[in-house]
Amino acid sequence: MMSGAAFLNISAIFALGVLTISFLLVVVRVVKGPSLPDRILALDMLVAVAIGFIAVLGVRSGFTLYVDIAIALGLVGFLATVAFARFVMSGGIDVKQEEAEEDRL
C-alpha cells in the first residue's frame, strides 16, 4: 500500500500524460476543421484542457496562484467563444462557399 503523497504524485503524472494525448487529439480537430464552428468548438475544448493542465500543475507544485490563472483563462475562453459565435451569427463567412471548398479538398 503506497502512501497518499506517492499516489498523488503518480496520478498527477498519469493525468499529465492523458491530458497531453487529449490536447493533441483536439489539435487534430482544429486542423481538420472542416467548418468554422468546428474549429471554434475545438478551441473552446482546448481552453478546457488547458484549465485541466493548470489544475494538475497547481496540485503538483502547491502554488495557489494557479487557481486565479485558471479562472482568468476560463473567462477569456468564454468571451472568445461568444465573440466567435456572434461572428458566425452575423454571417461572417459564406457557408455555401465553405462547403464547396470542403468538397473539393
Partner: protein, 124 residues
C-alpha cells in the same frame, strides 16, 4: 491520516477528470457533425476540468483558495452551456446543416413558424 485521505481523494479526482477530458477529445474527433461534437466537448470537457479544479481545492485545503477554486467550478458550469448554446444557434442560423443520419430537426419547424410571424432575425 486526514492528510493521507485528502491526497487519495485528490489523486482519484485528477485521474477521473483527465479521463473525462480524454473521452471528450476522442468524441470531438470521432463524432460526425458539429452538433454531435458539441455534446462531447461541452459536457464531458467541462466535467473534466471541473473535477481537476475540485482536486486542486481538496489538495490545497486552506479555505480562501479552496473557495476560489470552487467559485471557478461554478463559473465554468454556468458558462459552458451558454457558450455551447450560443454557438449551436449561430451555426444553425448561419446555415450549417446536420449530417445525413440525423433523425430529428425540431428547430426547422420552430424557425418556419417564427418566420411566418416575422420574428426571426430580430435577436441577432
Amino acid at each position: 491520516m486526514i492528510d493521507g485521505a485528502a491526497d487519495y481523494l485528490a489523486g482519484a479526482l485528477i485521474i477521473v477528470g483527465a479521463l473525462f477530458a480524454l473521452v471528450a477529445s476522442v468524441g470531438l474527433l470521432r463524432l460526425p457533425d458539429l452538433y454531435t461534437r458539441m455534446h462531447a466537448a461541452s459536457k464531458a470537457g467541462t466535467v473534466g476540468s471541473c473535477l481537476m479544479l475540485i482536486a486542486l481545492a481538496v489538495h490545497i485545503g486552506e479555505p480562501a483558495t479552496a473557495l476560489r477554486a470552487l467559485a471557478g467550478v461554478v463559473f465554468f458550469l454556468l458558462t459552458a452551456p451558454i457558450s455551447a448554446h450560443l454557438l449551436a444557434k449561430a451555426a444553425y442560423s448561419a446555415g450549417y446543416r446536420m449530417w445525413e443520419g440525423a433523425v430529428s430537426d425540431d428547430l426547422a419547424e420552430t424557425a418556419a413558424v417564427a418566420k411566418k410571424n416575422g420574428a426571426i432575425g430580430t435577436e441577432g
